[in-house]
């Protein structure tokens, strides 16, 4: 009986402590894959920044970016804008997937994407465009 109680308590302690740790823990965002994507996006940002400012590119509801008004892009940049946006979206999609996978829950990718979608808009500068249910909105 004593052995039973000991076993049972051990199981309970293990389970409760592990669930507590999981509840308190942050999401891991420092894996090599995530850092690589982040660095790539950081390096691209100076190229995208003027397009956010001019309203040529806006933030979408699914945590990506899109060309909103190609005429706002200076002629010299117009040819490259689509590939720039595509490259950024490729990184963003990979980022959401990697954060989910890196934390052992690939099924979280969708929720991570929506969390990011909200936070990108919240942290965007005033004057930047973001998509809402009713269309493009200037922040």
């Amino acid at each position: 009986m004593k052995k039973l109680i000991t076993t049972f308590s051990l199981i309970l302690i293990t389970l409760f402590s592990s669930s507590w740790v999981n509840a308190a823990a942050d999401l891991e965002v420092n894996t090599p894959a995530i850092s690589a994507i982040k660095n790539s996006m950081q390096a691209r940002h100076p190229q995208l920044n003027p397009h956010y400012n001019s309203g040529a590119v806006g933030l979408t509801t699914d945590g990506l970016i899109a060309v909103r008004d190609a005429t706002a892009v200076p002629l010299k940049d117009r040819g490259g804008i689509n590939s720039l946006v595509a490259a950024e979206n490729g990184d963003r999609n990979a980022l959401y997937k990697e954060i989910a996978a890196g934390n052992g829950h690939p099924e979280w990718a969708g929720e991570i994407r929506s969390t990011f979608a909200t936070r990108w808009v919240d942290k965007a500068q005033s004057g930047w465009y973001y998509q809402s249910a009713g269309g493009w909105v200037k922040k």
Binding site: M1, K3, L4, T7, F8, I11, L12, L15, S18, S19, N22, A23, A25, D26, L27, V29, I34, K38, M41, Q42, H45, N53, L95, I99, H105, W108, E111, I112, T115, F116, R119, W120, K123, Q125, S126, G127
Partner: protein, 74 residues
Amino acid sequence: MRKIGITNRLTSSTLTIAAFIVLIPACVTINIYFPAAAAEKAADKIIDDVWQLKPGQSKPDEVPPVKPADSPAK
């Protein structure tokens, strides 16, 4: 006496197995919930890095938001 001992041992191992069967799925269920607050924190950290924002500081390289004091009254 011997019979009771066997029964006790049987009950003991049955209970242990039952405990595992009940509690392990419960543990898995706890982990399935999406940690929304942690995700938001992670997103903020990454966005600050990508957009070179310093939390709690003014943005050195960016155009500051419209300052109400400086803009003429409409």
